[in-house]
């Protein structure tokens, strides 16, 4: 089975990276390249396997169970899952490449790449989990690798502080989600993700309570307000490739877990899920509005690029939550596509920051204007990523934001029409801070502390992500077609 093959390859890659690192005394200065080559190879082969499956154009849902069990279906792979795995492995591959040129011989590159591969393995597991048990297991694996990666350099202190904050908040989030799982299990006697619909539709009050516990628990890592406060700190403190991984993959996967929970409850577009509308949708609508507004308004006030990007991610979570609140297939398709588009652009931002992440002050907006030809290319990339994040064509986010708004309008309901207008207004509001980035980049004031200059082989990574984003914007059908195998965008 291709999925288990992918997991085995990623796991084996992680182990080989660690083993290779033990022989560092033999090849000293080139250790990060050797460990990196292993990580790149493992990720690339995994991606190739998944892409082969992707292009097979099967619309079926595949289930893998360890044994006939009343508790579990280990993995379920459908078109959403497949697309998300492609997303995380594509971004992961670019980050693995970038890390080989980012890390220095002094860094513990073996453990770094091992953690990176374990993270990708966990993300694959979370994406494809068919029951709460495996979901929780891989979720914890993802969180643990993230703690390790964020505090990888053990300095500056800000990284450790951010990591501890993340650890505690995500830990409490995990506990809450575990509580939600136990509520669902107590109602249905099953751990299958699909049992959530039985829990909600048969026993409305306790079922909804369990559902909300799951939202909050997993919502911590998705940075839903008011559980978002860890995210700007992590973005500010993590090394560039780790920040790119969290921005591009982890936050997206956290949103995708909510999609997986909502998926069994969803109906074709243009329908409300009856009596559960007020109780089920309204809290999500309120949370989505609060999340996008707080994210955008806070981003407007930031003076540091990395914190600004953190709040911008929170706003994006708000948009996606709005689409999820429709409990409709078009809404979920929009979210899955947005995870890809947002991930590409946000990761490209962090990879573009590159080795300037070593000093927080170097990512202050006033210090973004960089001299020289390399600086000019970086400025172009900052500008392009910023324009892309405002939802402008030809970047992919243009389409996913259209799909989000469309999924809201398809509901033909005044609440969702107002929500659509709020989403669109927030997208306009975000122009305020993205243009501040562009303004800072081109203002022509060279920073006093220039910091390390980016090399062409480093800049290739964000360039690749931008190229993917533009390709998505020009041929969106190729991507939406893969996601929408499960259901039409229209009712």
């Amino acid at each position: 089975m291709w999925l288990t093959d992918v997991m085995m390859i990623l796991f084996a890659g992680a182990m080989v990276s660690l083993i290779v690192d033990m022989g560092k005394r033999f090849y000293g200065g080139r250790r990060q390249f050797i460990s990196g080559a292993v990580a790149i190879a493992a990720t690339a082969v995994s991606l190739a396997i998944v892409l082969a499956e992707w292009f097979a154009e099967t619309a079926s849902t595949t289930e893998i169970s360890p044994a006939s069990s009343p508790f579990a279906t280990l993995f379920v792979v459908d078109s959403f899952t497949l697309f998300i795995i492609v997303t995380e492995l594509s971004i992961g591959l670019v980050i693995a490449y970038f890390s080989t040129v980012y890390l220095t011989p002094r860094d513990n590159s073996g453990p770094f790449f091992a953690l990176l591969l374990i993270m990708l393995l966990s993300l694959t597991g979370v994406s494809s989990a068919g029951d709460f048990l495996s979901l929780f297991l891989f979720w914890e694996g993802m969180s643990i690798s993230a703690y390790g990666l964020v505090s990888f350099r053990k300095k500056p202190g800000i990284a450790l502080e951010a990591s501890i904050k993340y650890f505690f908040l995500a830990g409490v989030g995990s506990l809450l989600s575990l509580y939600g799982i136990s509520v669902v299990y107590s109602i249905t006697g099953s751990l299958h993700l699909s049992s959530i619909s039985q829990a909600v539709f048969t026993t409305s009050q306790s079922g909804l309570f369990g559902l909300l516990m799951l939202f909050i628990g997993f919502g911590v890592e998705a940075a839903i307000v008011p559980l978002h406060t860890w995210l700007p700190d992590i973005y500010s403190a993590a090394p560039a490739p780790v920040a790119a991984l969290i921005a591009g993959d982890v936050t997206g996967i956290a949103v995708f877990v909510i999609v997986k929970i909502v998926q069994p409850l969803s109906v074709p577009g243009g329908q409300l899920i009856g009596e559960y509308f007020r109780a089920g949708m309204l809290p999500l609508i309120v949370l989505s509005v609060a999340t996008m507004l707080l994210g955008n308004l806070s981003a407007l006030m930031q003076t540091n690029l990395r914190r600004m990007l953190g709040f911008s991610t929170i706003a994006q979570t708000g948009y996606m939550l709005a689409a999820i609140s429709t409990f409709s297939i078009p809404g979920l398709i929009a979210v899955v596509f947005n995870i890809w588009n947002h991930g590409l652009l946000k990761s490209s931002f962090f990879l573009n920051i590159g080795r300037r992440d070593e000093d927080y002050s170097l990512t202050e907006l006033k210090n973004l204007s960089l001299p020289g030809n390399g600086g000019r290319l970086q400025s172009v990339m900052y500008t392009a990523s910023s324009l892309g994040m405002t939802g402008s064509p030809p970047f992919g986010l243009f389409w996913s934001e259209i799909l989000i708004v469309q999924s809201l309008l398809l509901m033909s309901n005044i609440t969702f029409t107002v929500l659509a207008i709020i989403v669109v207004s927030n997208i306009v509001l975000s122009i305020g801070y993205y243009f501040r980035i562009i303004n800072s980049v081109v203002s022509g004031k060279s920073p006093e502390a220039a910091g390390p200059q980016a090399r062409m082989r480093e800049m290739a990574a964000p360039l690749a992500l931008l190229a993917l984003s533009i390709a998505t914007g020009i041929i969106p059908g190729l991507f939406i077609g893969r996601i929408a195998l499960l259901g039409s965008v229209f009712p």
């Binding site: 406060t229 402008s392 064509p393 708004v405 669109v424 969106p476």
Partner: protein, 577 residues
């Protein structure tokens, strides 16, 4: 399959990324590469208009199958005429820019953005459905913002670019919602299907009014209508060829084109048409008054563009979409000529302040001549290209109501006054600051003279080639010509007396009569800039409040988390959930 409707926009779009590559080889080669691409595009546009016989829609493939969204072009009179016009004017402007930008840096960026800008506008013109239209609409918006901020080391240029992007995005957001409402209702955005559904139960009644108003707001942003007009004068920070492109061939025309294109849908609701009419007249008046107050040579005509675009909106509101398109094309020719002439003057004298100019007619004879022709065309002198549309609007306004007729008359007179005011102050009288000047080089003069020829003769093919059911040439056209001539003469007389013959007295009266304060208001876009600055401060204050509630304290974060948990338990306990 007919290739011309595709090549028209694909050529500049595909050539755009090549321009920076060519400039790596040789800078000058990139300039001429851009000229060649623009020339080929213009040739395709003119060929398409020449061979056009009847409307058709062509679809090559499904762009996004799941959205029922094909990649298609709609080839009809509106599209082929506008396409040919945009491509032709863009070519002349690109040719002019070879001379104008010869000493500037950043040419790779300039050539790339200009070709993308032209391709985006032509893609928009030829689009066969609203989503495709919106895609190119946004491309045009981005290119204009980046081109306005071309001199990015200047804070004013950066501010101008950002302002243009932000303000037009307000309109874009409205347009997007209107498109998606249509999409959600009839599950297609192809123009033919929308027009077929217009007025039916699916797309009629309140939905149609909402869609129409939202679409109008979308058009207002791009076409700089009050209150979304203040970005256009600030866009003057762009290089002059870019200004000419924005004002004559691309950006601002997009909004009017949208209204004309969607007229079969919009005209069903009289409420929508009345809204368009009121906005158009208000904008035309505000633009005219602001143009009167300005001393910046380029900003005068930025406000003039706002005013003329208001006229086009008014034409649509009066039920004359083809006349609006006629004015769009006529305006494009004479406004491009005005800006290219202004660019030559500004480059020659080194300032944009017309109060420092004067007496340039003798030093820049060709520039003066073409500028005079363009001012006369803008004023509606028969039979120049401006007359035919303005005459029809005046006639229809008279038939509509006396208030609308009077408004149109006042605006028309204002148009003449500010046009001649600029002419007198720049080219006549004595030089007020001893600025030296000399005629523009041939590479800049040639496109100006060609444009001048179009201003003088474009009405002939426009009236006699039966592409559009154009101005019917009513039996009373001689009377209309006399009316327009009288309006122009009135404006000329007032301008002559106020700014030539009794210029000193006028200035004194202005000071004593408190006109200075009114002028100040006009110079800030009739107070709208102040309003937006206030709004911006409120948003930032809200941002400050949002930041203040997030202390970053670990303890506070945990309290928040537990509070959310407790709230849900409480709500569940109370039976709310």
């Amino acid at each position: 399959m007919n290739y011309a409707p595709w090549l028209l926009w694909l050529i500049p779009l595909m050539a755009a990324p090549l321009a920076p590559l060519v400039s790596m080889l040789r800078q000058r080669a990139a300039d001429w590469f851009t000229v060649a691409v623009a020339a080929i595009t213009a040739a395709v546009g003119i060929y398409q208009a020449a061979v056009f016989t009847s409307p058709y829609t062509e679809t090559v493939s499904t762009w996004i199958a799941q959205l029922n969204l094909p990649l298609q072009v709609d080839v009809d009179g509106i599209a082929v005429l506008t396409g040919a016009f945009v491509a032709l004017v863009a070519f002349l402007i690109v040719l002019y820019s070879v001379g104008y930008m010869r000493h500037e840096g950043g040419k790779a960026r300039y050539n790339f953005l200009v070709l993308l800008f032209i391709g985006g506008m032509l893609g928009l013109v030829m689009a066969g459905n609203l989503i495709q239209f919106y895609f190119f609409w946004e491309i045009v918006g981005i290119c204009s913002a980046l081109l306005i901020a071309f001199y990015y080391t200047r804070p004013e240029a950066r501010r101008g670019g950002m302002k243009a992007f932000l303000m037009t995005r307000v309109g874009d957001a409205s347009l997007l919602v209107s498109i998606l409402i249509i999409y959600s209702t009839i599950h297609t955005t192809s123009f033919a299907s929308i027009f077929a559904s217009a007025g039916t139960a699916a797309l009629g009644g309140g939905t149609l009014v909402v869609v129409g108003i939202l679409m109008t707001v979308g058009a207002m942003g791009k076409s700089a209508q009050v209150p979304l007009h203040t970005w256009l004068p600030d866009a003057m920070e762009a290089p002059t060829p870019v200004t000419a492109l924005i004002h004559a061939a691309t950006m601002v025309n997009a909004g009017v084109y949208l209204l004309v294109r969607m007229y079969p849908l919009l005209h069903i609701s009289s409420a929508v048409l009345d809204t368009v009419l009121v906005i158009g007249l208000l904008t035309a008046l505000v633009g005219g008054l602001c143009a009167m107050a300005e001393n910046d040579f380029k900003r005068i005509f930025a406000y003039s563009t706002i005013s003329q675009l208001g006229f086009m909106f008014a034409a649509v509101g009066l039920g004359l979409p083809y006349i609006a398109l006629y004015l769009l094309i006529g305006h494009g020719f004479f406004k491009a000529l005005i800006f290219l002439s202004a660019g030559s003057v500004v480059e020659a004298v080194g300032t944009r302040d017309i109060s420092l100019m004067g007496g340039l007619a003798g030093k820049m004879k060709y520039t003066y001549s073409v500028f005079l022709v363009s001012i006369l065309a803008m004023g509606g002198l028969p039979p120049l290209v401006g007359f035919w549309s303005k005459g029809a609007i005046t006639e229809q306004a008279a038939a509509h109501s006396s208030l609308v007729f009077m408004s149109v008359l006042v605006i028309s007179v204002l148009t003449s006054i500010y046009g001649f005011r600029a002419l007198f102050k720049v080219f006549h009288g004595e030089s007020r600051s001893g600025l030296s000047a000399r005629e523009a080089p041939a590479i800049m003069l040639v496109p100006m003279i060609l444009l001048c020829l179009f201003v003088v003769t474009a009405w002939i093919p426009l009236n006699y080639q039966n592409i559009l059911p154009l101005y019917s040439g009513s039996a009373s056209w001689l009377i209309t010509a006399a009316e327009e001539g009288a309006i122009l003469a009135t404006g000329l007389l007032i301008a002559y007396l106020a700014f030539m013959r009794y210029a000193a007295e006028t200035a004194e009266i202005a000071v004593r009569g408190g006109v200075g304060a009114a002028r100040g208001v006009a110079l800030t876009g009739m107070g709208f800039d102040t309003l937006y600055n206030g709004l911006q401060k409120r948003v930032l204050r809200a941002g400050g409040a949002a930041t203040a509630v997030q202390s970053g304290s670990f303890g506070m974060n945990m309290v928040l988390l537990i509070a959310v948990f407790a709230l849900i338990v409480l709500l569940a306990g109370l039976g709310v959930l």
